[in-house]
Assembly symmetry: C2
Homo-oligomer: 427 residues x 2
């Protein structure tokens, strides 16, 4: 029983105990009313790590998210510190300041119980499900592009006071266990036969063997790991895939920043784009007849384009109007009549973020097909041959991004590559 998985005074919640355990919290009573008997809780966590409860009453609802002392996906053989809830809380309140309205509201945080009472997002669904269903969201790309630009710019030395940025760097540097998951499961394990790996076999065996013998790929993946673990440019969400986004027709929310850490700006952007590219390659497994999802594929590729263009536009705007940190100061550029120096530096930074993002996108694609944590877009394709065909396209696409990231001429070229791969038989 999860209820008995106590560690110190920590005790995991259950649907039956929520009223008794949290009934006195103002944050709960304000939204659910004081009649605890009318509260109904259900556990809905479908992620890899935590308990997530929706608690509703006749007058309202909240979400209670609680960390478990182990990796839910694997079981209690893989312990994981409860403190990740602390990092999630601190990331959420910073993201809410930096891009208001884009993350769920936080009503209560209990560090000892590792739980956050937060806004119940309804009728939102997880974006990944929506991409499988073939649903479009007109505001999605703009919202995500702005979220990335605002949180990444405003959490960096481009914007913050140096002492505040360094204090946050130190605070999040303790998020060791979740970084370890990224460091190993994303950047290393997929590239050799690590024990927790799995892939669609035997269909992908030959391609997987080829990738794991690809020295250039394995070197570049570790360069990207080096970038992730050493380049403390900004506060990352750290796990910004399409399972960490909730949507309606009108609204976009970014959830679950427990992997938050200081890292390179391109990481969030690249992981996000990777998940759209994978959703695109997976459409063949979900279309009602051949070509039925062609227009939807094109929409996904449009979303990728719009995320990046919105990101670049918003980042440019912030660069010109909010560059108050110690880097590239106006005192050195604009105030000396050298506004063009600021523009020159901006282009260099954007180009560097772009290059990084492509590399991170490539490894994200690989780890979702070769590693421990797979994604529903591929997993729900029942026919292994069909699944492998889609995965193979994504794998070679990812390899191209990782190895050639500094020499790819732009999104048009990538789109053209994705479209060409769609018509080919790779596996």
């Amino acid at each position: 029983m999860a209820e008995e998985a106590a560690s110190g005074s920590y005790s995991a919640l259950g649907v039956e105990s929520i009223g008794a355990r949290l009934g006195n919290l103002v944050a709960m009573k304000e939204r659910l009313g004081s009649d605890i008997g009318s509260w109904r809780a259900r556990e809905v966590g479908d992620g890899n790590l935590n308990l997530v409860f929706i608690v509703e009453s006749p007058v309202g609802g909240v979400v209670v998210k609680q960390a478990l002392p182990y990796v839910r996906l694997v079981g209690d053989s893989w312990p994981l510190p409860l403190k990740r809830s602390f990092f999630e809380y601190h990331a959420l309140i910073r993201q809410a300041e930096r891009d208001p309205g884009r993350v769920p509201g936080v009503f209560h945080f209990d560090v000892e119980q590792a739980l956050i009472v937060q806004e119940y997002l309804t009728p939102h669904i997880i974006l990944r499900r929506s991409l499988i269903a073939g649903t479009r969201h007109p505001h999605l790309a703009g919202d995500l592009g702005r979220f990335c630009a605002r949180t990444l710019f405003r959490g960096s030395d481009l914007s913050m006071k140096a002492a505040d940025r360094k204090a946050d760097l130190a605070l999040f540097a303790d998020n060791v266990a979740l970084c370890d998951i990224t460091e190993n499961l994303v950047f290393t394990d997929p590239y050799f036969a690590a024990p927790l790996n799995r892939h669609t076999a035997p269909q992908l065996d030959a391609l997987v063997a080829r990738l794991r013998a690809d020295v250039d790929l394995k070197v570049e993946a570790q360069h990207l790991k080096t970038a992730f673990t050493t380049r403390a440019e900004t506060l990352l969400h750290g796990d910004l895939h399409t399972g960490s986004v909730m949507v309606t027709g009108e609204d976009t929310r970014v959830i679950d920043p427990e992997f938050a850490v200081y890292g390179p700006m391109g990481f969030d952007v690249g992981m996000l784009l990777a998940n759209f590219w994978m959703a695109c390659f997976a459409q063949s497994g979900h279309e009602e007849g051949e070509g039925a999802r062609d227009a939807y594929r094109a929409w996904i590729l449009d979303v990728v384009h719009e995320i990046w263009s919105t990101f670049a536009q918003t980042f440019t705007h912030l660069w010109r109007t909010e560059r108050t940190g110690m880097l590239y100061p106006a005192a050195l550029y604009e105030d000396q009549g050298h506004a063009m120096a600021a523009e020159q530096a901006l282009h260099h930074r954007l180009q560097a973020i772009w290059t990084d993002a492509l590399g991170f996108a490539g490894v994200e694609i690989h780890r979702r097909i070769l590693g421990l944590a797979h994604i529903a877009e591929f997993e729900t394709i029942a026919d292994p041959a069909q699944r492998a065909a889609a995965e193979a396209k994504a794998l070679v696409f990812g390899r191209h991004l990782v190895v050639n990231r500094a020499r790819i001429p732009g999104l048009a070229a990538i789109r053209s590559l994705a479209e060409r791969l769609e018509g080919e038989n790779i596996a």
Copy 2:
């Protein structure tokens, strides 16, 4: 009186009070004997920040280094946290582990009094003085190359456990005030007319104006600042110039790591090389007749070459034998029969360190001629025209390194440039 500059229970030492204040310390008595009346202290601090006492008795000697709550070079109008002593202590004990025998032994640390009792190095002198005097040290380059390779490799994710590296990152991230000095005085102030700047005027005015209008230079200097402040690759010494090295004919010691912080590997290497290049350009102000120091100039350039080659050889050896951290793991390379992947990655990393080092060297040269903290090699040239002529060569040399650092073919090309500039009249 410095003695009265108390802050909390902190109180600055004076030559008269050392016996009374420190007479009970075992670390002192063990080396000086218990007869406090026989102790003789003198204050010898010639740096920019601290009090440094040599305390001797008939039976031995120690150095007592104490932080002042302000910048000694500027005065109490510029407060500076005493905690820098804490960072110096923690850096010293790590460096002693990583390259035994190359830093002074630490006998006692008092966090509240911000003082370190350490080994009295004698007959050592500051390397900078030796370079002005024209003295050669046969072991110097090898010692410094190994020191850089060992401390930089062993303080990184190439070697350390990830959790330990992240804990150290967080610990040193609080060294905010000293980082601020580097961030502003090295990377920003030299490139515009900041209040604390000075240069040899009017002789250098035209060249300084040209450099401060050089958009490419000003952009690249801020890219280097970004690298310094975001790329937490390893524990840096942080202030590794030739005033932080003490030498005899046989021995080399690296002192004063109070600027220690996690940063890019190329920073220490670049700052060190820069100070040799400046010493080379300054020889014309110290030679007994034209050409009298030609052989010594050649020796300095040999030292630069040997520092880098020793660094690269030692780093390569450590890469092949001590790569126990999470980056570029043997599990992924050697254990899979892909030893060449490890070599490929090594070459990429060395090339990146090299490129960074050249850039950091360039800004170090600029700030020592244009900024607040100048160096004795140039300052002791009495004739301003002669001083300016030497400084001008160094300035254009530094500009070349900063802007072209990624496209310089190697040390032979740099040496050829330095030799060519020596024969020209720049100012």
